[in-house]
C-alpha cells in the first residue's frame, strides 16, 4: 500500500481497467473525468461510434460516482431524496431518476439500482455526500460513497447481448432496467440492462479485483462481433442521439451554480414526467408544486433539428433572427438519423407556441476563419434515435 499522503504526486487516479484502456489508447487522447484518467478517443472516434450502433462497444464507466444507501428506511429515504417513487422500484430493477434542492432546482440526475429490499445504489455524475447525509436525518439509513469499490463497464451495441451470451452470461431473458447476477472469476458480476447510448446495451458491475479479467473475457468473447473499446467522444455522439442530458454539460447542478439564474427545475429540463406527486414529501416538492400550479417555469429543454450539417455546439438561438431566446448545450451531426441535431435550452414559450421562427447563430471554423451562419432550427421530439432493438426481449440475434 502506498502512502495515502502522497496522492498529490498522482492527482488523477487510474481506473481498474486502466492497463487495458491504455493499451488500446493508441492515440493517447486522455482527459480528466471525476478525478480519473479517462480516454476521449482510443484509435478512431468514428469507428468507435460505429461500434455502438453496429456491433458492440466497451466503455470504462468507473468514474461515475456511486453511493450505497442501506437500512430499513432506504426506500422511504430515497423517496424523500429523489423526485421519482423509489419505494415501488422492484428489487433487481433500475430506474432513471433526479433530485432537487429545497428550491426545487436540479442537483443531479442518475440511475438508482435496487440491490435488495433495504439496499440501493445511486449512480451519478457529481458528488453529493453532504446533501445525501443531511437528507438522511430521521431515517434509519446509512449512506456511503463507494465509487472506488465497484468497477463499471458499459457494453453497448446491437450485438452486446450476443457478446454476453458468448462470454457465458445468459441475458436473453433480461428486460430493460432489470439486473441479473452471475458468478465470475471467483466473484460476482452484476449485469444491468441499462446504458447511455439509446441502443441495446448493458452495464456491468464488479469488484475492482476482477475488473481486468472481465475486460479480457469480454474482448475475447466479443471478437467475432468486432467488439471495440471506445472513448468518451463516441459515447457523447450516441448519448445526444438518444437525447440524454449530462450534469455540467446540459445543466449546472444547483449546488455548484455561482450565478443564480443558471439553476433549472425538473420542468425546465423535461424531467417532470418522473415526479411522483402522491408519494409524500420530497426535497423541493413545495417549490415544484408552486411552479406547476403557477406555470412559472422559465426555461424548456428541447431537441432541435437544424438546417445544414454544421455542428451548432454552444450556439445562441434567436427568434426571428433578432431576439435571443436560448442556447444549445449539446449538438452533433447524427450519423444514425442523418440529421443535424441539438439539445437546447429555450425561454418559454419559444419551445412551443412561438417555436416557428427559430434560428441558430453559428460560427463555423474553416481553415482559421469563421464563417458566420444563421441556420433555421425546428423543435423536434427526443430521443432523436430510438430503435426497436433497444427494447426487444429477447434481444435480436445479431
Amino acid at each position: 500500500m502506498t502512502d495515502p499522503r502522497l496522492h498529490f504526486k498522482t492527482p488523477l487516479r487510474q481506473t481498474p481497467f486502466h492497463s487495458r484502456v491504455a493499451e488500446a489508447n493508441v492515440l493517447n487522447k486522455w482527459a480528466a473525468w471525476g478525478g480519473y484518467t479517462t480516454a476521449l478517443e482510443l484509435s478512431d472516434g468514428e469507428m468507435e461510434y460505429s461500434a455502438i450502433r453496429n456491433s458492440a462497444s466497451l466503455y470504462d464507466l468507473c468514474p461515475m460516482v456511486k453511493y450505497r444507501i442501506s437500512g430499513a428506511d432506504a426506500g422511504a429515504y430515497l423517496n424523500r431524496l429523489t423526485i421519482r417513487n423509489a419505494a415501488i422500484l422492484a428489487v433487481g430493477s433500475v430506474h432513471y431518476t433526479a433530485w432537487c434542492d429545497d428550491e426545487g432546482k436540479l442537483l443531479d440526475d442518475g440511475t438508482l439500482f435496487r440491490w435488495a429490499d433495504t439496499e440501493y445504489m445511486l449512480c451519478c455524475q457529481e458528488r453529493h455526500l453532504p446533501w445525501l447525509l443531511d437528507t438522511a436525518a430521521g431515517f434509519d439509513v446509512a449512506v456511503a460513497e463507494i465509487t472506488e469499490e465497484i468497477a463499471a463497464l458499459s457494453l453497448q451495441g446491437p450485438c452486446s447481448a450476443s457478446v454476453l451470451n458468448a462470454a457465458g452470461f445468459d441475458v436473453k431473458a433480461l428486460k430493460p432496467f432489470r439486473m441479473a447476477r452471475f458468478a465470475f472469476d471467483g466473484g460476482e458480476l452484476t449485469v444491468s440492462r441499462t446504458g447511455f447510448t439509446g441502443d441495446l446495451g448493458y452495464e456491468l458491475w464488479i469488484a475492482p479485483d476482477h475488473a481486468v479479467s472481465l475486460w479480457d473475457k469480454l474482448m475475447e468473447a466479443g471478437a467475432p462481433w468486432g467488439i471495440r473499446p471506445i472513448g468518451t467522444h463516441a459515447l457523447d455522439t450516441a448519448r445526444i442521439e438518444a437525447g440524454f442530458i449530462v450534469a455540467n454539460a446540459d445543466f449546472i447542478p444547483a449546488h455548484q451554480a455561482l450565478r443564480e439564474d443558471r439553476v433549472r427545475s425538473p420542468f425546465e429540463m423535461a424531467l417532470d414526467w418522473m415526479i411522483d406527486w402522491d408519494k409524500g414529501h420530497f426535497n423541493g416538492r413545495r417549490a415544484l408544486v408552486a411552479e406547476r400550479n403557477g406555470s412559472t417555469s422559465k426555461w424548456a429543454l428541447v431537441g432541435l433539428d437544424i438546417d445544414s450539417n454544421v455542428s451548432t455546439e454552444g450556439s445562441i438561438i434567436y427568434h426571428d433572427k433578432k431576439r435571443e431566446v436560448g442556447h444549445i448545450t449539446a449538438a452533433t451531426w447524427s450519423p444514425a438519423t442523418k440529421r443535424n441535431i441539438a439539445i437546447a435550452q429555450l425561454l418559454r414559450p419559444y419551445h412551443d407556441q412561438k417555436s416557428d421562427n427559430l434560428w441558430v447563430e453559428v460560427y463555423a471554423l474553416r481553415e482559421l476563419q469563421y464563417a458566420k451562419l444563421m441556420l433555421r432550427a425546428k423543435v423536434t421530439p427526443r430521443p432523436f434515435f430510438n430503435p426497436a432493438r433497444r427494447r426487444a426481449t429477447p434481444p435480436g440475434n445479431y
Binding site: 502512502d3 496522492h7 498529490f8 478525478g35 455526500l129 446533501w131 460513497e145 449546488h255 455548484q256 450565478r259
Partner: protein
C-alpha cells in the same frame, strides 16, 4: 514651489492616488517620514543577501485595473501565484490544500469523506458573496443621508444589485456579513482540522476571534481578490511586497510626480477651514491646493490636524473608530530550508502557507490571551517561505521566512511593549516552529521581530492594526471610516483621505487610493483615463 496636491505617506494607496493625479496632469509631491517608500508594502534588506517582505507578505487584492492603468509591470511588478499550503496537526499529521481540484478533494477525504464533498458547495457560497462585493470595490460608496442625485443613483444601483439576488440569497448575505467564521464553517464541515485551515482568512489582521460575530466577512475580504483572474488565489510579489510600491514610485516619477523621503509631517496647515499645505517636522512648509493623507483616520485627524478645526462629533467618531492591533510579524533569514517532520519530502506544501493551529478552539484560546492583554502563548502563525518560489530574496539554498502572528495586543496588560516583551514574543513563535521542525532554531541567521509597537512606530499604523481600522460591518461601505465621510473627503475643505481607513478597506488593494483620486479629479473636473472595475460576468 506650489503643488496641486501633497500626499502624506508613501504607502501603496498614497502612491496610487499620486500616480493617478500625476497622470491627469496635476503637480504632486509625496512626503514620507521614513527614509524609504512603501509603508506596509515594503521590502528591506536587514541581513546581507536577504530581502524581506517586512510587513504585508502576499498579494491577491491589488486590483489588476490599477496595475494596468499605472503600467506597473513595465516598472518591474510581477505577481507569482503560489501553491496551496498545509496545517500541521499536533499528532504529527497534516491537512494540505492543493490548487488541483481532485488532489484537494482526496486530501480532504483523508480527514473526512463528507467534508471532501462539502468543499464545492462551500466554495460556491463564498464565491457568490465575492461576486456581490467585487463590483463595489472600485466605486465610491453612496452617502445614504444625503440626497444628491449621484448618491441616490448609487444607492439605487446598490439596491438593484441586492434585489437581483434571490430571497434566500439576501438572507444568506445578511447572515454572512454578521456571523462568526466558526458558525459559518460549521454549516459545511465537520472536521476540526479542515475548519481550522479555512478559518484562517477570517482572523488575519482582525482583532476578532474565529468565534466572534463579524469574522466571516473578514474571510470574504481575503477571498475577493485574484491573481490573473483566478479569484481567491494569492501570490507573491517577486522581490517582496516592496516591489509593488517600488513600481508605483517609478511610475509616479515617470509621470512627473515627486517623492520626498525622510520628511515627516508635523501638521496639516489649515486656513479659513481649508487645507493649504503641510508643515514638516524639520520646520519646512510645503504649500498645495490640497492635502491627501494616506495615514489612517486616527493618525490623520487626532495627531496631525488641529482638532479645533474639526466638528466635535467628527472628532468623537474618529476617536471611537476601532483600530485595535492584533498581530505581529517575524521575518527570518534561514541558513537552509527548514524540514517539517509532518510534511513529505519534496512536497509542494512548502511553497504555500503553513499553519500549526489545528482547531478553531485553539485559535480562539489564542484570542483569549489577546483579550487578557497578552500575546498568545500558543499563537496562530501564517508561515510562508517565499524563496521556495522567488529566487530573488535570498542567496541560493538559503531562505527568507515570513511569519505572520496572531494575536499580539497593542499593549501588554495595559503597559507599553518593552524590548523584553518583544523578544519573548519572538521566542514563543520560533519555539512553536521548532516544535514542528526540530532543528529550526539552528537555521536562524537573523530575525526581525515586529510587534504592534514596531508597526505603529515605523509604518505609522495606529495600534499596529494592519487594515488601518477593523473590517467589521459597522465600519464598512458608507460607514468607513465614519458615517458621512466615506467619500474620501473630510470636514476640512481640500483635506482628503486615501488610505485603508476608507472604503473598501485594508490589504494591499490600492482601491482606496484609486477611488480617492477619482473623487478628487471629479471635483476639479479633470479628465482621467482611469479604468472602471472589470465587469463580473
Amino acid at each position: 514651489m506650489n503643488y496641486d496636491a501633497i500626499i502624506i505617506g508613501a504607502g501603496h494607496n498614497g502612491l496610487v492616488t499620486a500616480c493617478y493625479l500625476a497622470r491627469a496632469g496635476l503637480k504632486v509631491v509625496v512626503v514620507e517620514k521614513n527614509d524609504w517608500v512603501g509603508g506596509a508594502a515594503v521590502s528591506r534588506s536587514l541581513h546581507p543577501g536577504f530581502t524581506y517582505s517586512n510587513c504585508s507578505y502576499v498579494s491577491s487584492l491589488f486590483r489588476p485595473e490599477i496595475m494596468r492603468d499605472l503600467e506597473l509591470p513595465k516598472y518591474g511588478l510581477q505577481v507569482l501565484p503560489y501553491e496551496g499550503g498545509a496545517v500541521m496537526t499536533r499528532d504529527g499529521g497534516y491537512l494540505a490544500i492543493f490548487r488541483d481540484h481532485e488532489a484537494n478533494r482526496r486530501e480532504f477525504s483523508r480527514h473526512s469523506p463528507r467534508d471532501a464533498e462539502a468543499y464545492d458547495p462551500y466554495s460556491r457560497d463564498v464565491f457568490r458573496h465575492c461576486r456581490f462585493i467585487r463590483p463595489l470595490l472600485m466605486r465610491t460608496p453612496p452617502d445614504p443621508a444625503r440626497f444628491r442625485p449621484r448618491d441616490l443613483a448609487e444607492l439605487a444601483w446598490l439596491g438593484k444589485k441586492t434585489f437581483d439576488l434571490s430571497e434566500s440569497q439576501i438572507y444568506e448575505m445578511i447572515r454572512f456579513w454578521t456571523m462568526s467564521i466558526s458558525d459559518f464553517l460549521d454549516e459545511y464541515f465537520e472536521n476540526p482540522v479542515v475548519k481550522a485551515y479555512l478559518a484562517v482568512s477570517a482572523i488575519i489582521g482582525t482583532a476578532l476571534g474565529p468565534m466572534s460575530p463579524g469574522s466571516a466577512y473578514v474571510l470574504l475580504h481575503h477571498y475577493m481578490g485574484d491573481v490573473d483572474g483566478n479569484v481567491g488565489a494569492w501570490g507573491y510579489a517577486r522581490g517582496g511586497m516592496g516591489s509593488i510600491t517600488a513600481a508605483l514610485s517609478a511610475s509616479l516619477t515617470d509621470s512627473g510626480g515627486e517623492i520626498r523621503v525622510g520628511k515627516g509631517v508635523e501638521k496639516v496647515l489649515v486656513q479659513n477651514g481649508q487645507a493649504v499645505g503641510v508643515a514638516l517636522d524639520d520646520g519646512e512648509e510645503i504649500r498645495a491646493k490640497r492635502v491627501i493623507s494616506n495615514m489612517d483616520v486616527k493618525r490623520t485627524f487626532l495627531k496631525h490636524v488641529d482638532e479645533a478645526e474639526l466638528p466635535a462629533s467628527f472628532v468623537k467618531q474618529v476617536r471611537n473608530f476601532k483600530i485595535r492591533g492584533s498581530s505581529g510579524k517575524l521575518n527570518i533569514a534561514l541558513d537552509a530550508a527548514p524540514k517539517f517532520t509532518a510534511l513529505p519530502e519534496g512536497s509542494p506544501m512548502y511553497k504555500g502557507d503553513l499553519h500549526f493551529t489545528d482547531s478553531i478552539e485553539r485559535m480562539e484560546r489564542a484570542y483569549d490571551d489577546w483579550k487578557a492583554g497578552h500575546f498568545s502563548r500558543d499563537p496562530f502563525q501564517d508561515v510562508m517561505i517565499p524563496t521556495m518560489i522567488d529566487p530573488t530574496m535570498a542567496p541560493p539554498g538559503k531562505h527568507f521566512m515570513s511569519c505572520f502572528v496572531q494575536y499580539a495586543p497593542p499593549k501588554i496588560e495595559g503597559q507599553d511593549w518593552t524590548d523584553a516583551d518583544r523578544d519573548a514574543f519572538g521566542q514563543t513563535c520560533i519555539n512553536q516552529i521548532d516544535d514542528y521542525a526540530p532543528g529550526f532554531k539552528d537555521l536562524v541567521l537573523h530575525a526581525e521581530i515586529r510587534t504592534p509597537r514596531e508597526l505603529e512606530a515605523e509604518v505609522g499604523l495606529t495600534e499596529g492594526n494592519i487594515f488601518q481600522g477593523e473590517l467589521t460591518f459597522d465600519q464598512l461601505l458608507f460607514n468607513r471610516p465614519v458615517p458621512g465621510y466615506a467619500q474620501y473627503r473630510s470636514p476640512i475643505k481640500d483635506l482628503w483621505i486615501c488610505g485603508s481607513s476608507t472604503h473598501p478597506g485594508g490589504g494591499v488593494m490600492g482601491a482606496p487610493g484609486r477611488n480617492a483620486a477619482a473623487e478628487i479629479l471629479r471635483d476639479i473636473r479633470v479628465p482621467t483615463d482611469m479604468s472602471d472595475a472589470y465587469a463580473v460576468l
